[in-house]
């Protein structure tokens, strides 16, 4: 079955609502302002209207209410809309939902899913382009999912809504909505917390997540074709848990690592991966690690300025050549 990222999302939500009466939604703007992607949500809106609570513009209240609903026995998916708005909800996501299981000594579980449509989206500018996954990585108790393609869009959402027992931030990305994949819905899922080697290679490892996955794959293809370089691409899939082992194993093989990450460079996802290599993979490294990330600059509006800061396939490729000393 061939589906897009947007279809995978919508399908996972539809199937979950159908499978478990505890699943419900607070807000439903999952597809942002993308009319094509919005179409994919129509079955959900048509079939499960009464399972969707209307959401005012109150991200903090909604995140907390979703958490409370999870405590009360539901399995809510709450739409926190554009990724930047999770800051409005931060106090509830970071300091309530994430802590409750631990603070209660395991008495209470909180199977809530926070949906965050993150990322540089073209013209979103400084206040609408955030990717909070690295910041959230500082919050023990949160699961952070960052699908990089249609299959994981579908499977990780299903897992969050039907299986997870913990607060989960689902980092979606508007620039991925059109990405498609052939999937077999019956096949088992690669477990959550396991990274995927989505392309095997021998010369260097490119670690990617979310939007940088297709770009890393494009860079790897170009490296192969234009430079005869064989790059392995590892898709982290989840930021917490973070699968350091798969990264280390890949780098042990290739000896070189580039991390392609849409967070700001400092304190981003790439920093944590690079740090893990400095701690546990040092002996494998034949060359310095390279981070290809967004410079430490707010995201500008103008297209050429935004492009300058974007982690594109071209920049990943250029980084790879640097790592290879070419």
């Amino acid at each position: 079955m061939k589906i897009t990222f947007a279809e995978g999302l919508a399908r996972a939500i539809h199937e979950s609502l159908a499978a478990d009466s505890r699943v419900m939604m607070i807000g439903s703007g999952i597809m942002g302002l993308n009319p094509a992607a919005q179409k994919a949500m129509e079955p959900v809106l048509n079939d499960f209207a009464e399972r969707i609570s209307v959401a005012p513009i109150s991200e903090l209240g909604l995140a907390g209410a979703a958490t409370g609903a999870a405590i009360g026995g539901l399995r809510p998916l709450v739409d926190l809309s554009t990724g930047s708005f999770i800051f409005q909800a931060f106090a509830q996501v970071v300091n309530e939902a994430a802590n409750i299981h631990y603070m209660s000594g395991g008495q209470t579980s909180v199977p809530v899913t926070f949906y965050s449509l993150a990322g540089m989206r073209g013209g979103g500018a400084a206040q609408h382009s955030h990717r909070a996954q690295a910041m959230l990585g500082q919050v023990p108790g949160l699961q952070i999912l960052a699908p990089g393609g249609a299959e994981d869009a579908y499977r990780l959402m299903k897992w969050a809504l039907q299986e997870s027992a913990n607060p989960t931030v689902y980092i979606s990305h508007g620039m991925l909505f059109g990405e498609s994949a052939d999937i077999d819905p019956g096949a088992p899922m690669l477990p959550v917390g396991r990274a995927r080697v989505c392309r095997e290679g021998a010369d260097l490892t490119i670690v990617a997540s979310s939007i940088t996955v297709p770009r890393a794959l494009a860079a790897a293809a170009a490296l192969d074709k234009e430079h005869g370089v064989s790059a392995e691409v590892v898709d982290l899939r989840s930021i917490a848990p973070l699968d350091r082992q798969t990264v280390l194993r890949s780098v042990a093989k290739t000896g070189r690592a580039l991390i392609a990450d849409e967070c700001h460079r400092s304190f981003g996802v790439a920093a944590e991966v690079a740090a893990s290599l400095a701690e546990e993979g040092l002996s494998s490294l034949k060359a310095p690690v390279c981070r290809v990330a967004v410079p430490d600059v707010p995201i500008p509006y103008s297209a050429p300025l935004e492009a300058e800061l974007t982690v594109s396939a071209e920049r990943i490729l250029a980084g790879a050549l640097r790592v290879l000393g070419r």
């Binding site: 209240g61 995140a63 907390g64 409370g68 009360g72």
Partner: protein, 341 residues
């Protein structure tokens, strides 16, 4: 709906008072770290609020939770063990006083952030509404209304018409008594706290936290309205702050409360004497019961003796409980899938 006899009401209030007195004593002996907050002077509210609750109902409370937990039926020994950070505490020492919770009694998660629990309460009330049973009582202090979280939560509750009773305990220190360095008290520029939820179309009331009997009637009625499906309610309970809680670390200015204070005796400090005379829900209720002939002083003494003994046992239990093993620090961070209800 369950209703309390005067003796039950007194015992329930007294259990809270005696528990808190033990807390203060343990703290003065440095038996536990960190800041804490006692419920002395507000006992009537917790007792009246919890009386009409049924199994399956949920309460959310704050850093000032001891009274609410006791009124809901929590075991004082396990509570005290938690406050002391011991292994047999309800949360295995992870929560301490700030986050005390007892899921089995419908106290699933206690937030120590001002306004933090209101959104949670609204969500759980949404779950109650979808399930078709149960209701939520959310306790908060007066400062909660200064937080956007509380405002957004009340707005959602009104919009969704969910069964939640917002119970705001206004124990604010009047401006003339505030000292520098104290927690600021109610700085909301509203005439009545209830005007805010009122503006969001939530029916509101104001009640006197010193009148245990009237509170019992009022909160039972409000709980019945909420349970009946007519949406959220908000009640401001006005308490006069107990003088022993004015310093940053609570004190017992004249030692433990004495039954005699309800009658002819007076605590030996003026502020406490005035408070005892005019504002202490316990002294006032006890005095009223005896004056009305409902109870005799001998019966009261017996209740008090029982309660004191219970609280001494609780302290012993807590002190006897070991500290958790250091390895306990590492979890449980995540619930296992399937463990969620």
């Amino acid at each position: 709906m369950p209703s309390l006899t005067p003796a039950e009401r007194i015992a329930s209030m007294l259990r809270i008072r005696r528990f808190e007195e033990q807390c203060i004593t343990l703290s003065s002996h440095k038996r536990f770290p960190g800041h804490y907050h006692v419920y002395i002077g507000q006992e009537a509210t917790a007792v009246a609020a919890c009386a009409p609750l049924l199994a399956g109902d949920v309460i959310y409370t704050t850093w000032r939770n001891h009274g609410h937990l006791l009124a809901r039926g929590a075991d004082p020994g396990r509570m005290m063990a938690e406050i002391l950070g011991r292994a047999h505490g309800y949360c295995g020492g992870r929560s301490g006083t700030l986050h005390l919770s007892v899921a089995a009694l419908g106290i699933p998660a206690t937030s120590a952030l001002v306004g933090g629990n209101l959104p949670l309460a609204v969500g759980t009330a949404l779950a109650c509404k979808r399930r078709g049973s149960g209701m939520v009582v959310n306790f908060c202090g007066d400062a909660a209304l200064e937080e956007g979280a509380a405002y957004e939560a009340m707005s959602l509750a009104s919009l969704w018409q969910v069964p939640v009773l917002f119970l705001c305990e206004n124990n604010s220190i009047p401006p003339e008594l505030r000292k520098r360095g104290q927690f600021t008290s109610s700085t909301l520029p509203a005439k009545r706290l209830a005007d805010v939820p009122g503006s969001l179309c939530i029916p509101t009331e104001t009640a006197d936290g010193a009148d245990a009997g009237a509170l019992g009637e009022c909160l039972s009625r409000l709980a019945a309205e909420v349970r009946g499906g007519s949406g959220p309610r908000f009640v401001e309970v006005r308490c006069t702050r107990w003088p022993g809680s004015f310093p940053l670390w609570p004190e017992l200015p004249c030692g433990p409360w004495q039954l005699d204070w309800a009658f002819e005796a007076k605590p030996g400090r003026e502020d406490l004497a005035a408070w005892n005379e005019q504002s202490d829900p316990l002294s006032l209720y006890v005095r009223g019961c005896v004056a009305a002939g409902t109870l005799e002083r001998g019966a009261l003494q017996a209740i008090d003796a029982r309660v004191r003994e219970e609280m001494e046992r609780a302290v012993q239990f807590a002190l006897a409980s070991p500290f958790p093993d250091a390895s306990e620090a590492y979890g449980p961070v995540f619930a296992q899938a399937g463990q969620a209800r």
